[in-house]
Symmetry: C2
């Protein structure tokens, strides 16, 4: 199964998005494809939705950014997101700041170190991504869509918060 | 001494910024004053410089945002900042996310809860704030400049990173 998905993905990357909606299996295919071929222009300048620290294997500190459509929806607090919403997840090494440890005599500040765990996006298109809750997912590693970070894995975890339209983050005012 | 500062601050808030540079003690006064009377318009939409978690008494998770001048300087990596640089520090409760704890069976995600510890800004004006390393400081609590968060206290802590032009944050790419 994994091989089939990888092959499908590779073919998809070559052929691009052409024909996505033309096939009977279009929606299921879309769920298996990286939702974007390139990172959205200017995403690094998008406003902050929220920040978080992940423990365990992830062990990162992260910022969740949103495009204009996302920010409007988050700030409205509706709890659902219209088509066109894009949410970006940037993550970095969870890095102890030596200067403040020395000053305080104990661990004090943990800051963003090197980029880690790729840059992830979720894109709302209720029809195109109907089989994954209306959201497409993609992870970029070194600027390229990851062939190993499967949208299904993203969806499986985001299903934990199905009651919030599959979005973990809540707007941090 | 503290009373004198508080009185000076109160007078300053009433009289505004008029006469700042007209007095012989202008620079020293500037260092004791909140650097801004109002929060900069649109600061919440500024891009992210970095994110951090503070342990100890602060116990928050935070985002450091920058205006255009700041972002340009951070991205250039010069390590010093021109006049007009404004850096914003937003902080929130360090809040364990219940959904991911349940899913993982252990603490996993710590997210931004309610706003905490005010919204702080540092503003570069090498001449005006010469006595505090070229930076003016201000904390806003409930949208108003704090009379208890003294610029001197900000400066004392930021002096730890004098070698980085008094700026803790480094750009998280």
């Amino acid at each position: 199964m994994k091989q089939i998905i990888v092959v499908s993905l590779a073919v998809g990357l070559v052929t691009g998005l052409i024909g996505y909606n033309a096939t009977a299996a279009g929606e299921a295919d879309a769920a298996r494809m990286p939702a974007l071929a390139e990172m959205p222009g200017g995403y690094r300048d998008w406003p902050v939705i929220a920040v978080a620290h992940e423990e365990g294997k992830l062990n990162d500190i992260r910022a969740i950014l949103g495009n204009d459509v996302a920010m409007k929806a988050f700030r409205a607090g509706a709890g659902t997101y219209p088509d066109g919403t894009i949410i970006a997840r940037l993550a970095w090494d969870y890095h102890p700041l030596e200067e403040s440890r020395q000053a305080f005599g104990a661990p004090q500040s943990f800051v963003a170190g090197s980029p880690k765990n790729g840059v992830q996006f979720m894109i709302k298109d209720a029809k195109k991504y109907a089989s994954t809750g209306g959201w497409g997912y993609v992870e970029f590693d070194n600027g390229k869509p990851s062939a190993t970070a499967m949208p299904e894995a993203c969806f499986a975890c985001h299903s934990i918060v199905k009651n919030r339209d599959f979005v973990f983050s809540q707007y941090a005012p």
